[in-house]
Amino acid sequence: MSPNPSLDIAPRDVDGDRRIASSQPGRQRAVKKPRAQFTPYSLLIPASAVLAAVIGWPLVQLVIMSFQEFGRAQVFGAPSPFIGFDNYVEVLTDQSFWLVMFRSFAFAAVCVTSTMVLGTLIALLMSELGKVMRLILSIGLLLAWAMPALTATIVWGWMFDTSYGVVNYVLTRWFGLDYIGHSWLIEPLSFFFVAALIVIWGAIPFVAFTVYAGLTQVPDEVLEAAQLDGAGAVQRFRLIIFPYLRSIFLVVFILQIIWDLRVFTQIFALQGIGGIKDQTSTLGVYIYQNSLGTGEYGTGGAIAVITVIVITAISFYYVRQSVKEEEL
């Protein structure tokens, strides 16, 4: 390795030839070096600035607010005194918070697992299909992906409507079951079944497209060789495709966990259609109910900060895990 540590960071490290060339002392290198180091970082500036303004600043505000007494009066200009960890103590000693937390994790676990499995299966299907069928499938997936979550929830809500829903109609008319006037949202488990259906339906296209894009990068000759050696479809997926796509799966998996843990639109809209809010709230909706709903911005902020910490911790764990495995 080069004795100069700064060279290890620079991108031209990748190329062995250039490293030898550039390690020779000379005027040219002295001029080039700072610019070469600055350019990649300067490209990050626009995105970082946007992120700092749009996500960073509100996050800072949120953290500050979570340590303050902040209700409706404070929105209208009353002073907001710092009260230490009072908001956090209140949230963490509230039994309903832990119920919501448990509910969110259970819901996310079901959604993430189903989305990953079904999305991967559809990706595999896409790589086997002919051109025409693949195009039709892609268009179908794109439409589902392009549908705003609120619109989708309203339409799914109509399908599961108690009085006029097509689901009750079909179950009653075609399958001879008594689903006349059956409410799908009034029982929490049934509510989450409908909610999961909407969330999974909306998330599958992303997984399917991403995994399909990855599948096209798996070298055919490796798969062919494995087939000749007698590897079945499951073995080929487990031993060849999965290791090739490991990083793609990881990124998609983490994104799904984040999205499903903080799901808001689908649950919020469904609660407006039916069901009992108290028994069906997940973290995203619970934060809304506490801050914008009941005006307790301080405690709402504390719940939000706890959620951010939990989600970051989970993501960090998986990223570290995968980095470790790659190092082995």
Binding site: R72, G181, I273, I276, G293, T294
Partner: protein, 294 residues
């Protein structure tokens, strides 16, 4: 009415309001041999009788989330939503009087209504026009939803006009029940950049001429003197009857938080499902107390 005041201070002028009325199908009521009820008890028994006589139809259509319609039952039985005593709000849903009212609500929701137990009260014209809703209590402007032209964005059934009857919900001892007045207030913002102009605009809005436009369109004007602008038809008579006895939700700055928390809709959805009224009301009171005094 005391709309717009809090702590004996006047904050905002009433703008207009809309009372809740009962809309019904004249032919259905006649076919069951019933007449327009004169007491709350009769209103309930009529609803149950209509539902029994027309299987699958609602004698009184009442989806579980519609808590506004429950207030007259509580008030007529002498109950309150919340009272303010010694500097503290006390939610009153579990008082003996309120429980009596809520038990009547439960009777209507379970025996007279075939509406979904957990649905909200939007688009009441659908069931009415379809024929599965024989009576419903709703804000006065629902008349226009029911009679909307067939080619409207949300179509109604204009051919039902002759059959559409309306009356003010009757009280426990006759007369009009104390119903919930939904409406708006108007005030000049404390931080207004043009307070003088705003006050002039307010004067125009509260003038007889402007307020008469509300009356002519079926909304209750802010001034008692303009009651006759409502007109003299059946709806107008019902509106003025109901408006005279209309009441408001507690005048607490935090009442909006109670509504937004969803505690009331959750409560009445569970009442509609046949839940135990007394224990549910106690839980609700605890929740509302903590919001109003929190």
């Amino acid at each position: 009415m005391e709309a717009g005041s809090y702590d004996d201070k006047f904050y905002a002028a009433p703008l207009y309001s809309g009372s809740r009325l009962v809309f019904y199908k004249k032919d259905a009521l006649a076919a069951a041999g019933l007449s327009v009820p004169t007491t709350l008890d009769e209103y309930i028994s009529n609803g149950v009788a209509l539902a029994d006589a027309n299987p699958g139809a609602s004698g009184i259509w009442w989806p579980g989330q519609d808590w506004y319609n429950a207030l007259p039952f509580i008030w007529e039985n002498g109950g309150e939503v919340a009272t303010f005593e010694g500097g503290e709000w006390k939610s009153q849903f579990s008082s003996a009087e309120s429980i009596a009212g809520i038990e009547q609500v439960q009777e209507v929701m379970t025996d007279a209504s075939r509406a979904p137990k957990d649905a909200n009260e939007t688009n009441p014209q659908v069931g009415y026009c379809e024929g599965t809703t024989l009576q419903l209590s709703a804000p006065s402007w629902v008349k226009w939803s029911i009679l909307a032209p067939l080619d409207a964005e949300t179509p109604g059934c204009p051919d039902e006009e002759a059959n559409l009857g309306v009356y003010a919900m009757p009280g426990k001892d006759g007369g009009a029940a104390q119903v919930f007045a939904g409406g708006s207030n108007i005030a000049v913002s404390a931080k207004s950049a043009q307070p003088e102009l705003a006050k002039k605009a307010l004067a125009i809005i509260l003038s007889d001429e402007f307020q008469s436009i509300y009356g002519a369109n079926g909304l209750v004007p802010a001034k008692l003197s303009l009651a006759d602008t409502l007109g003299t038809d059946e709806v107008a008579v019902a509106i003025s009857e109901a408006a005279g006895a209309a009441r408001l939700t507690p005048a607490s700055p935090k009442w909006a938080d109670v509504e937004a928390s969803g505690a009331l809709t959750d409560f009445f959805v569970q009442v509609a499902q046949g839940g135990d009224v007394t224990s549910l009301a106690k839980d609700l009171d605890a929740k509302i107390d903590s919001i109003l005094n929190g």
